[in-house]
Amino acid sequence: MSFFLETLLGGLMSGMLYSLVALGFVLIYKASGVFNFAQGAMVLFAALSMARFSEWIPLWLGMEDNLFLANLLAIAVSVVVMFAVAWLIERLVLRHLVNQEGATLLMATLGIGYFLDGIGQTVFGSDIYKIDVGMPKEPVTVLESVFEGGILINKEDFVAAFIAAMLVLALTIFFQKTATGRALRAVADDHQAAQSIGIPLGRIWVIVWCVAGITALVAGIIWGSKLGAQFSLSTVALRALPVVILGGLTSVPGAIIGGLIIGVGEKLSEVFLGPYVGGGIEIWFAYMLALVFLLFRPQGLFGEKIIDRV
């Protein structure tokens, strides 16, 4: 029993981490109808920027021992960097692709992804870099009185989950309650109509990519402090895809619920089903799980219905 709970909890925690990446997808899709395959690259870019600046800034300023201040400055610099990336993407790419089909835009984001991967490694290097924001590493054991051996909890995951939850809350409010949020949703529905009533697409996109950049930074810091900032971070995006699909491309809360379901589903399947078929099933199990949900709700659990009128 305690092992089951541990697995469950582990799944929930991983799920929250996936959600963090999934959120980036949802944000951009919701606000511009673009499925941003560069999200993984953005997470990597943000993490590299964070890791390297927190290493460089103390060297430049000559304050080796103030970790807190160094991290704070590095975060600030990284935010600026991500803003610049967002602005450039709008300027150089999206502006010229107004009103194009989904496939074209998707392709463009893949191009952006390559670009960021390349430039990120050129500027920041391709080694493993450390992000140390003081996340607790050692596990704690709780509920020892209830279960034999207690339940092992990873404190780091707990902190990460909390941050993710806060982020989601803020984003939900932003989308549903503000005029900018409304304009973002309008742009997602119909670029041209939004343009025709005077919503400046350029500015909207910059805003949205900035928000997605911040989300990528948060995800990058958390994942980076877990795994180290290095190239493989961009592959976590693939783990987040079933989450987005299951939760619905357009739903912020969906990204969270989807993350939890996928996280729990894949961990339980790997631990309890895996041994019978040789293991290593969690990736495709996650996708299959998403697929099964899709068969019942083709737009994802919380996604907006795909509305067709002939």
């Binding site: 799944g11 991983s14 391709s126 877990k226 795994l227 493989s232 592959t235 961990k267 790997e270 293991g279």
Partner: protein, 453 residues
């Protein structure tokens, strides 16, 4: 818009012109050897300095190139200078194949290829016999290619995954106090889910049958950043030992997850690709007590050859990569790989003419008849770094020695004596697997008589 269009057309024309450029590049290269013939021995390198495995690929590549530089600084191979050229593979098989094709004809023809990737090794194993270029896969590649009768062109020198796995089990047995104590013990293999990670399974299963320990297998999908479920299972099973067969980020992630689930690092044993500085660096104290196989060498900051490189290359600003890296585990691996290639050529010169350029086919003879005894190693500056290597027609591995080293939170220290892989266990497996390959590819294995040619 006009500008865009023009630029677009220009780009299109550029693309069309590409074949012409391609056609010229190798031809230009083909001309070069006319004057360079019998002068420079070409060692192509297929490293990866980008992509998911870059942190581990870079030091290897630096060591590889540094030794070639050192060889020239020492006056070449009996006076024959060496040249090298890198082609980035990013650990991708098709890029590796393209690089192989690109480099094999350059600078008068490649002497030997070293792909540093199991996948690329598999693909090149098919091409090398056709082009008559040998492959050195020191410490990786196909374990069964140690059988030179079938794999005429493959040289998994110094160690294969099977010899490595065998040594690990020997070490564990010794720790437990004998092979008979292994009975009923639980050993878990956490492996990279690819041919690389799966290589040791056959041998471990063989050993499990012999000694009656319980072997469980936990695959980790590439690149290995998601291991929570794996370590939850380990926490449940509480195995006595965990063997780690990872590469790149998978290693450090495994150590972090072990820390997070509280599995003692002292009971973890990595293969030699899981026991270098990049694997433990950002885990630091969290990896203290973790053991890994040392493919003969470990981190060797005090070796003579390392000092020589620092003095002859890095002191003059001619080194490859940062100075601190010289002597680290993966750097040493690249260095040794490079050394084996150079010494093979030296051996071939012994037969085909000292101080003369040798072809790839001639070099193959050198690799097959390599006899690096302790004296030769000492002379090269490898005293204490490795043990003698002696290859034959039937045994392309040449040496099955290995030892264990342990991370103390700051650096790697040796923690065991030398072990030698048990040929009685290895040989049948090698013969079986290579016979199957020969059958698939319709190859007739060489007989001892063929070897004498």
């Amino acid at each position: 818009m006009k500008l865009h269009k023009l630029a677009g057309i220009a780009a299109a024309i550029g693309l069309l012109a590409t074949p012409a450029a391609f056609a010229q590049a190798p031809k230009a290269a083909a001309k070069a050897p006319a004057k360079a013939e019998a002068k420079e021995q070409f060692f192509p390198a297929l490293p990866y300095r980008t992509g998911p495995y870059a942190p581990n690929g870079v030091p290897w590549a630096n060591g590889f190139v540094d030794y070639l530089k050192l060889t020239n600084a020492r006056g070449g191979i009996n006076g024959v200078k060496v040249v090298w050229e890198e082609c980035e593979t990013a650990y991708a098989t098709d890029r590796g194949v393209e690089c192989y094709e690109r480099l094999k004809g350059k600078h008068g023809g490649a002497t030997v290829f070293q792909p540093l990737s199991t996948g690329i090794t598999f693909a090149l194993t098919e091409k090398a016999p056709v082009d008559k270029i040998p492959l050195i896969t020191a410490g990786y590649g196909r374990s069964e290619s140690a059988n030179g009768a079938v794999f005429e062109w493959n040289f998994p020198m110094v160690g294969t995954y099977w010899s490595g796995a065998d040594v690990l089990i020997q070490h564990i047995a010794k720790k437990e106090g004998g092979f008979d104590k292994l009975k009923g013990k639980k050993i878990t293999l956490v492996y990279h889910d690819s041919p690389y990670g799966k290589e040791p399974i056959a041998l471990l299963q063989e050993r499990a049958k012999m000694h009656g320990f319980e072997l469980s297998l936990l695959p980790v999908a590439s690149p290995g950043v998601e291991q929570k479920a794996t370590w939850l299972q380990i926490r449940q099973h509480k195995p006595d030992y965990v063997l780690l067969w990872g590469w790149g980020v998978m290693n450090s992630t495994a150590l972090k997850e072990a820390q997070a689930t509280g599995y003692p690092r002292e009971k973890m044993y990595g293969v030699w690709w899981s026991g270098a500085e990049p694997d433990v660096k950002d885990v630091g104290e969290g990896a203290k007590g973790y053991n890994a196989l040392a493919m003969q060498h470990g981190a060797e900051p005090n070796a003579k050859v390392v000092k020589e490189i620092l003095e002859k290359l890095h002191a003059k600003g001619q080194g490859t990569g940062p100075k601190e890296e010289v002597g680290q585990v993966l750097y040493m691996r690249g260095l040794i790989s490079s050394m084996l290639a150079v010494e093979g050529v030296r051996a071939a010169q012994g037969r085909y003419g000292k101080g003369k350029w040798v072809s790839a086919e001639q070099a193959r003879w050198g690799f097959e008849n390599l006899n690096l005894d302790q004296k030769a190693l000492d002379a090269l500056g490898f005293a204490g770094v490795m043990r003698p290597v002696h290859t034959t027609c039937l045994d392309h591995m040449g040496s099955g020695f290995a030892r264990i080293h342990t991370w103390d939170g700051k650096k790697w220290n040796f923690s065991s004596d030398w072990y030698e892989a048990d040929q009685k266990v290895l040989r049948p497996l090698i013969m079986l697997a290579s016979a199957k390959y020969a059958e698939e590819k319709k190859i007739k294995p060489r007989t001892p008589e063929d070897c004498k040619k």
